[in-house]
């Protein structure tokens, strides 16, 4: 096909003729995802200060077992080995983490920012070999739709947590934490309902697009999908922010402001 001897040699690593600040998007991605990875891992493993009053950190919902009143099945389960530190977040966090890890947007972003494959368009790469997503381990990214099923189920849990965040000890109310929890549902909803795999499963897979209610759902998902990157970042930092708020309240750093 193409005579590779007639083609210019590959551009050396980080070399490019680009004159713009091409490194900024990848640097921001590296810092943003890196911070979330470090903070999120710590927040899940620390296993405390994740609830305050009616609020629960989104990193811990759905709480299957745990010490808080939000726990579905009560305290630490009997099957949990005594020598292994217990944290309620471990039972659920893998699902949204896997959903984001295998997400088409995030894949493109972290291949660039963490693997320099490439760092930015038309910028030289560090490796001459390339396998893409053809072989193990990256062929496993095709499992994305299975994580989507869990993510959709967790949307119900987040919605339930948002309703619960208005149930204070003295009855129905609204606090800053309630508003943040609701905002979190909207942001994660915008991200989850804009998923490429969901768009495909809702009708993109067929040569004739759906009509009626299913067609409206497909159009709605397509609309979210057009801003998938923005939803991805907004929801990621939304989760972080709500966790930090609940944690700060629980640790007594800030008071929770009640609106009524």
């Amino acid at each position: 096909m193409a005579d590779s001897k007639a083609l210019p040699p590959p551009t050396p690593f980080l070399k490019t003729s680009r004159t713009d600040a091409w490194w900024i998007p990848s640097l921001l991605t590296f810092l943003g995802l890196g911070f979330f990875l470090v903070y999120g891992t710590w927040a899940i493993l620390v296993g405390k200060n994740y609830t305050y009053g009616p609020y629960i950190s989104p990193l811990y919902g759905l709480e299957l077992w745990g010490d808080s009143p939000h726990a579905l099945f009560g305290a630490r389960p009997g099957f949990w080995p005594a020598w292994l530190p217990f944290t309620p977040g471990i039972f659920i966090a893998w699902a949204p983490a896997g959903f984001r890890f295998t997400c088409y947007y995030y894949r493109g972003a972290y291949y660039k920012a963490f693997w320099a494959d490439p760092v930015a368009c038309t910028v030289g790469e560090p490796r001459s070999s390339y396998l893409g997503e053809n072989w193990f381990p990256l062929v496993m990214q095709n499992v994305h739709r299975y994580f989507l099923y869990f993510a959709l189920a967790l949307m119900l849990v987040l919605a339930y947590d948002a309703v619960e965040s208005t149930q204070f000890e003295d009855g129905f109310g609204l606090g800053v934490g309630s508003l943040l929890t609701m905002m979190n549902v909207v942001l994660i909803g915008g991200y989850t309902f804009g998923c490429h795999a969901l768009r495909h499963l809702l009708g993109g897979r067929a040569d004739s697009l759906p009509v009626g209610f299913k067609g409206a759902c497909y159009d709605g998902v397509s609309a979210c999908n057009r801003n998938h990157m923005k939803w991805a970042w907004a929801s990621l930092f939304g989760v972080l922010f709500v966790d930090m708020y609940v944690r700060s309240c629980a640790m007594g750093f800030i008071p929770d402001l009640r609106i009524f």
């Binding site: 083609l7 210019p8 368009c121 390339y130 299975y146 495909h200 040569d207 057009r226």
Partner: protein, 248 residues
């Protein structure tokens, strides 16, 4: 009249090339192709550059301007920093013939290998078909392609890893999508897409979408939907069972 300097890559092969600076007078409303024509007129009549419509519709004047694949006729000088020389190079993914002209015939050979459109029998007695407008709109987006091959040029699988023998590039994944999504088409191209055309090489950098002068959402509307169809068939055992059980 103000002047600007254009640093143009000259040469007739990948290994024998050099940058030469040309200063030309510029005026309001000029695009890079105008500047290249001025260089040809004033300084270098032997400078080779391919162009045709000068309206962003023929896809002939593809080049790399300050390192980014762009159409020379659609790149306004007012959008560039003219305080430093503007660098103009040929597309790196293809063999250079001379100066800014590259041999893009590889693309046409790739296209020939893709199964042609194979419509179902006509729906009506007069030999016509019925199609829903939204289905027409979906594939019509891909028809906007002017085959400038900027997406092929920017794709690192071709550009840096030179997998021309294993990967057909974003332009032709999109061509496959246009045929695969066509409600009248009856042929199947998924096996070839996966095994022969290297769909799995795409790691979704979205560079192709970024440089498309027709603003086609190549990655979101063509490549990822094709990846998902491949998942349907080869990587989704539960989906396969569901299809068998429901007959869908």
């Amino acid at each position: 009249m103000p002047q600007a300097t254009f640093r143009i890559s000259r040469g007739d092969s990948a290994t024998h090339s050099e940058f030469k600076d040309y200063a030309v007078e510029i005026s309001e409303g000029m695009v890079v192709l105008d500047a290249v024509h001025l260089v040809q007129m004033v300084h270098a009549p032997d400078l080779a550059a391919r162009w045709n419509c000068k309206a962003g519709k023929c896809g002939s004047c593809s080049a790399e301007i300050n390192g980014m694949p762009r159409l020379m006729c659609m790149t306004r000088l007012s959008d560039l920093d003219l305080s430093v020389p503007v660098k103009i190079e040929p597309m790196k993914t293809f063999r250079r013939i001379k100066d800014l002209v590259t041999d893009v015939s590889w693309n046409f050979r790739v296209k020939e290998k893709i199964k042609k459109f194979k419509p179902r029998p006509a729906d009506n007695a007069d030999g016509t078909w019925n199609m829903a407008q939204r289905d027409v709109d979906r594939v019509q987006e891909f028809r906007k392609c002017i085959e400038c091959f900027l997406c092929q040029d920017v794709c690192h699988v071709l550009r840096d890893h030179q997998k021309h023998d294993e990967f057909i590039g974003p332009r032709f994944i999109m061509w496959n999508a246009a045929l695969e999504m066509h409600p009248l088409d009856t042929d199947d191209r998924l096996k070839e897409l996966k095994d022969d055309n290297g769909l799995g090489y795409c790691n979704i950098t979205k560079c192709c979408t970024k440089v498309c002068p027709e603003h086609i959402a190549i990655t979101d509307n063509a490549i990822i939907p094709m990846k998902e169809r491949v998942v349907d068939r080869y990587y989704d055992p539960l989906g396969w069972l569901w299809s068998k059980a429901t007959g869908t």
